[in-house]
Symmetry: C2
Subunit: 296 residues, 2 copies
C-alpha cells in the first residue's frame, strides 16, 4: 500500500503523533497538550485536522489512534477488548471512525475472576515494546503516572493488569489536603524517599502513615526532612506492593523517561528487582506500526 501513515498516542492531557512516510520511516513528529480534556465535545474532527496540519499537512492513507481518544468522552467510544489479549485482538477490535482510513485502538478490560480493571493506551505501549524486542513476550511492565498501570504479559498477550491511583492521590494530598503545607519541596530520591518507600513496601497503614508528615513538622522532630519525598516514597512503595504481586520475582520493565519513571526504577531496584527502562514513544510507535500491518 502506498501513502503515509499517521500514528498517535492521544491521552487525557496530551497527544503525541508520528507521520510515517511510504517506506515506514518517521517523517514528522508532533506533540502538544491538546489531550482529551482540552477537546470540546464535537471538536474531535477539527482537533484531528489540526493534528494533521501540524504534521505537515500530508493526508495519510491510514491513521491509528491509541489512548483516551477512544474513551466515552473521546472521539468515538472504542469498546474495551477483554483480557487476555495481544495485538491480534486489538487489531480485530479497532473502532473505525472512517472505514479503512481512521481507527481508534480499543483499550483492555479485565473482569470475571480478577478484579475489574480498565486501561486505554498503555496496552499499545506494552505490546509495542514486545513487538520492537524491547521486552520479552513474557514480562511485567510498569507504566507510572496519575494512574499507574502494572501489566503482566504471557506469550505476547496481556493476561492481567492492575491500576494504582498513586499520582492522583499524591496530587490531591499536595494540592488540597492538610498535608499540603508540608509537601512543597521537589520530590527527590534520598533518605526521606527511602524511608517512605520502605514503609510502603512493608505494607504500612497508608492513611495513618501519611499523617506522620504533619506530626513530625508540628513537633519539629526533624525525622522527615523532605515531606514530599517521604509521601511519594510511601505511595510508590504501596504501588509496588500492589504491582509486584503480578511479577513473581522477575525483572520489571518501566515504561517512560520522566522523573517519575526514574523514581520507580530506583524504588524497584531498592526492592530487589531488576529494572529495564523503555521509551514510551518508541514502544507506542512499534505497537501502532504492527497494528497497521495487521489491518492491511
Amino acid at each position: 500500500m502506498t501513502g503515509h501513515v499517521l500514528l498517535a498516542d492521544w491521552g487525557t492531557t496530551s497527544r503525541r503523533a508520528w507521520l510515517l512516510d511510504e517506506s515506514g520511516r518517521i517523517a514528522a513528529i508532533f506533540e502538544d497538550q491538546r489531550g482529551m480534556a482540552a477537546v470540546e465535545p464535537g471538536g474531535w474532527e477539527a482537533a484531528f485536522g489540526e493534528l494533521k496540519r501540524n504534521l505537515g499537512g500530508t493526508e495519510p492513507r491510514l491513521s491509528l489512534l491509541a489512548g483516551m481518544v477512544g474513551a466515552n468522552r473521546g472521539w468515538r467510544e472504542a469498546p474495551y477488548v477483554p483480557c487476555p489479549a495481544g495485538l491480534g485482538e486489538l487489531a480485530a477490535g479497532l473502532c473505525w471512525v472512517e472505514p479503512r482510513s481512521i481507527a481508534i485502538v480499543p483499550g483492555l478490560s479485565q473482569a470475571g475472576g480478577a478484579p475489574a480493571d480498565v486501561m486505554r493506551g498503555e496496552e499499545t505501549q506494552v505490546l509495542g515494546a514486545i513487538a520492537a524486542c524491547l521486552a520479552p513476550a513474557d514480562c511485567v511492565a510498569c507504566h507510572p503516572g496519575t494512574h499507574t498501570k502494572w501489566v503482566a504479559v504471557r506469550g505476547g498477550r496481556v493476561t492481567e493488569f492492575r491500576t494504582v491511583m498513586t499520582g492522583e492521590l499524591f496530587a490531591l494530598l499536595k494540592g488540597r489536603s492538610i498535608l499540603a503545607e508540608h509537601l512543597g519541596d521537589v520530590v527527590a530520591a534520598g533518605a526521606d524517599f527511602d524511608a517512605g518507600l520502605d514503609r510502603g513496601l512493608d505494607g504500612c497503614e497508608l492513611t495513618a502513615d501519611l499523617f506522620r508528615v504533619r506530626s513530625d513538622a508540628l513537633l519539629g522532630t526533624g525525622s522527615i526532612g523532605n515531606g514530599a519525598a517521604y509521601v511519594s516514597g510511601l505511595l510508590i512503595g504501596a504501588d509496588l506492593r500492589a504491582g509486584l504481586a503480578l511479577s513473581e520475582g522477575r525483572e520489571v520493565h518501566v515504561i517512560g523517561r520522566s522523573d517519575l519513571a526514574s523514581l520507580y526504577a530506583a524504588a524497584l531496584e531498592r526492592s530487589g528487582r531488576e529494572v529495564r527502562r523503555i521509551d514510551g514513544g518508541e514502544a507506542v510507535v512499534a505497537g501502532l506500526k504492527q497494528l497497521a500491518e495487521l489491518v492491511e
Copy 2:
C-alpha cells in the same frame, strides 16, 4: 469557689460550650459552626465574647477551652504535653490566656520511640469518659472523623495513640478525584460497605482497590452498587487495621453519635470486637469539669 464555669470544645469547624452554675449543673448549652477555621486572626477575643453572650451573658469565674483553640492558628498556642499523660498532666500544662480565669487545654504529643503524632481535644474526651466512668481506666477509644484518633489508655493515662486520615481522604476522593462521579450516593451499611471493609481489614492495597470503583462502573459489572459505601468501607477497614494494633483484642469505646460513629461501630463488630458507644459531649464535659477541680 463561687461563680459560673464555662467549658468548651472548640474544634476546627465547630464549637460547643456549656455553662455550669455554682452547683455544677449545666445552665446553658450553645453550639455553632464558628470553629477555628471561621475565626480570623486577632478575632479570638471577640469570638469568645460572643460565645459568652450566646450562653446567656453570665461572666464565668473560670473558662476552660479544649481543642484546636490551642493550635498554632488558634487563640493561643498551648504546647503539647508528651505521652503518657492523664488529666493531672493536662491540668499542669494548661495554657492561661487570662491568669486564673481563662485557660486552654494542651493537646498531647507522641514522639521518641513511637511514631510522631499529635492531638487536640480528643484527649479531653477520652480521659473525661474515664472520669465519668463511661470507660475503664485501661481502655482503647476510637474517635472517628476527618482525622480519626485511636487512643490507648492505661491506668487513666494516654500511653499511645494514632491518627488516621480517613475522613479527609474520603472527602478528597468524593470531591476532587476521578472517582467523584461514582461516589454520589449516601454511605450506608450493607453489602457494598462490608465488601470494602473486608478488603480494608484484610490489608488490601488501598490505592489499587480504590480504582475498582471506576472500573466496575465503566464495565458495568454491577459488583459494586453503592461506590461511596464501598470506598467508605475500604477506608474504614484500613483505619481499623491501623487502630486495632493498639487494642490487643479488647473492646473498643467509640466516641461520638454521628452516622460515621455508627459505621465504625458496625465495622468493629464485624471485625469481632465488642463496642461501647460514648457520647462525646458528655465525655468532654466530664473531662473539663475534672480539670476545673484540679486547678481550684
